[in-house]
Amino acid sequence: MRLTWLLLRRHRLFLGCWLLLLIAMSAGTVTAYQNTYPTGQQRRIAVALAQDNAATTLIYGRLPGPGTPAQMYVWEIGACTTILTAVFAILLTVSLTRAAEDDGTLELLRSCGLTVDQPLYAATGVLTACAGTLAAGCAVVVGVHGGHADGVTWAGSAAYGSVVGLTFLLFAALTMLLAQIAPTAGQARLLAFATMGASFTVRAFADTRPAGWLNWCSPLGLRATVEPFTTDRWTALSAPAAATALAIGAATFVARRREFGAGLLRRRDTRLRRLRIRSTAGLAARLTRASVLTWTTAVATIGTLFAAMGSGAVDQQRDGDIGGFLGAQLGDGEPAAGYLSYCGTVVGIMVCVYAVLSVTASRHAERLGLTDMMLATGARRWAPLASQATVTAAGAAIILAVTAMVTALIAPAVVEGDDITTRALLYTAGQWPAAAAITGCTVLLAGTAPRLTALAWLPLAVSAALALLGDLLEVPPRIQDLGLFGHVPDAAAADSTPVALLVLAGAGALMCLTGLIGMNRRDLVTG
């Protein structure tokens, strides 16, 4: 029990932020569906369009009839919430289990008389508490809208909360098992995210083909099997609950049979290769090579998938108003341009996440004393941070270039409209200034106020929220314009001047410069 408290204490900030984000996301949007379609007639048209649309079905699943605001909410916001819940479960479980083993903190705890199972049981305790909070939180914040949005019932809210909570616990249990198999914490994360990708693919296949039963095989298919606010099929929770128990049991079984600090899979620990570098930039490039490759694969796959799914949405937007979250993304202009712009924003957000993580690695290196080692060889004070910034900007360019090229190849085949290739190319590649700006912002913090580097997530989170939810929540355009995204002009439009992009890139460069000057003037902060 003490260990559970220790874990809670250690991860309280991470836990608190994610729980707040997920519950707040469920809270703010439920009435938006009631307000978007105030009359039954409007809603019936929108529901018919959505049910008939392959693209939205692929992203969100099937919209059950009659399509009350509560059902639309679970269909759209529920899809986003369950995916984010899975991400949260994966990140939290790995840091509770394998990461503590890799960084050496668990070693110390194990030497205090703990059994092999106890750390896993404590982690399970934290994860269960988290799942419970998430389930209760989501159920309550939706349930209170009972009188204000059609179709919202307490039973349905409880079913929805349970779906979110159990999705969390199921991914946590699967990750816990994978964390016993993978050779390192990083690879455990990678395997778990691959599992999440597979779950999404299975769910998308199940919903777009006559293969609905496949939803029973996907951890992301819980919304389709339980159907909150439609049938509230509570029995559908039993199979995933059993799978969760089984995965935890298997994780414990494997944990007893593996070496401390090593998974069932062995890793390659020897290498004869030499390293030919002459500068801190060379070293930074070598150290981030693998991560750029992973990010490029992931972003190009997701970005292309998004662009490819747009055909239905674009056609539908031409015929009438899609409304809701996706409708807000497409805007009032040319539907193909609107959709590709939305895809660009999604890619842009992912690349900015990469940029913040990549620059933050420099701060991590400083804390560990690695920067000391570099500086003690005669490198200039600002060089390690500058190199990391350069490598990050170059990495973002590579990710965007590959994604843009693949998208530009695939999109014209599936999306109907003019200048699809050019638009796909430029809407994606045009995200680079946003990545440069957030890189600059992170460098500024790492250089001048190293302990506050994590604050770089704030402008990114706010910008992402403005770009994705701004129209839905009716935020004035002049405030939306302050965000990092949505500034890429339509390549096919006559007056496409990229002033905002130049401002973003310029601001990025300026912040970088200020950060590097700050770095030159301050003490190195280790520990």
């Binding site: 620990d269 020897t270 290498r271 004869l272 290769r273 030499r274 390293l275 030919r276 570098i277 002459r278 500068s279 801190t280 060379g282 070293l283 070598r286 150290l287 693998a290 560990l368 004393g369 690695l370 000391d372 080692m373 570099m374 500086l375 003690a376 060889t377 005669g378 490198a379 200039r380 004070r381 301050r522 003490d523 190195l524």
Partner: protein, 306 residues
């Protein structure tokens, strides 16, 4: 290799160094001079300010007050020029876990732009290091070996070693001492920080002892031994006990008594007079333990937590 610097000028010259972190003063008016070609021990208990001073020497910290010159340059302004000419071994070695030992050696030498591969190979072998394993599989001692090989093999004038042997086994410690002697013989200057006297006693010519960020003692080791006091014990005849105490007191020696036995700490110059007195009164069980540097050192180590 250092160009314009005058050969007799100290390689490290620190005057009245003060370094504060907020309200905490880590180093308080420290002086430190290291002469060219010498092996200088930098001693002090944990938390005395050794690492802070070293980080200021490398230009990683900016001095709050005072003047620092390393190889004739101010490290706060010319950190790159200073560090290019010195090798550094940190107290706590962290390396890139995904690189192999060899790749770390390549990286450090590549950044410096100068390297002696033959020396590197020789030292890798001498320290019995397998350079093809990834750093994350290395023990603390093996990580230390990677940095020691990089430091000794680099063509530099000055070595700054911050508690470099923590984590090495006794055999490798002997190897380390050999490397220090070889480096000194080759005319390189070495600043060796440690909290263990025994470690520096064998290889250092001069030492600086600091405590609570302040200088306690500095000079040649041979001279310092004279500063230490000898311990004398004796059992004087019971009837003369009070008189002996009185006469010792007049010699400037304070003696404790325990069940008729006197214990006293006698400065080196007073030892003949004190022993003469004890012989004169025909005291029994006279012992005289010569000055031990360890005692001097331990006396300085008695510090309050800060």
């Amino acid at each position: 290799m250092t160009g314009t610097r005058h050969t007799h000028e100290p390689v490290i010259d620190v005057r009245h160094l003060v370094k504060r972190f907020g309200r905490f003063t880590a180093v308080d008016g420290l002086d430190l001079q290291v002469q060219p070609g010498s092996v200088h021990g930098f001693l002090g208990p944990n938390g005395a300010g050794k690492t802070t001073t070293i980080r200021a020497l490398l230009g990683l910290y900016r001095a709050t007050a005072g003047r620092i010159r390393v190889l004739g340059l101010d490290p706060a302004r010319h950190a790159d020029a200073v560090t290019r000419q010195l090798s550094y071994v940190p107290g706590e070695v962290t390396l890139w876990p995904n690189l192999t030992g060899q790749e770390v050696l390549d990286a450090l030498a590549g950044l410096r732009g100068r390297r002696d591969e033959a020396a590197e190979r020789r030292l890798t072998e001498a320290f019995a290091l397998d350079p093809h394993r990834k750093v994350r599989t290395y023990s603390k001692g093996n990580r230390q070996k990677v940095v020691l090989v990089a430091a000794f093999a680099a063509p530099t004038d000055l070595l700054i070693l911050d508690e470099p042997t923590s984590g090495l086994d006794p055999l490798m410690e002997v190897m380390f001492q050999q490397c220090v002697r070889d480096a000194a013989a080759a005319g390189r200057t070495i600043l060796l920080s440690s909290h263990l006297l025994a470690e520096v006693e064998d290889v250092c010519d001069t030492v600086t002892i600091i405590k609570d960020g302040r200088l306690v003692e500095s000079g040649r080791l041979a001279d310092m031994r004279h500063l230490a006091a000898s311990t004398v014990t004796a059992r004087p005849p019971a009837e003369q006990f009070a008189a002996v105490m009185e006469r010792l007191h007049r010699l400037g020696v304070a003696a404790d008594s325990d069940a008729g036995v006197l214990h006293m700490s006698v400065p080196r110059t007073t030892v003949p007079a004190a022993l003469g007195l004890l012989a004169e009164v025909e005291a029994d069980d006279i012992t005289c333990t010569p000055a031990r540097l360890e005692d001097l050192f331990l006396r300085h180590y008695a510090v309050a937590a800060r």
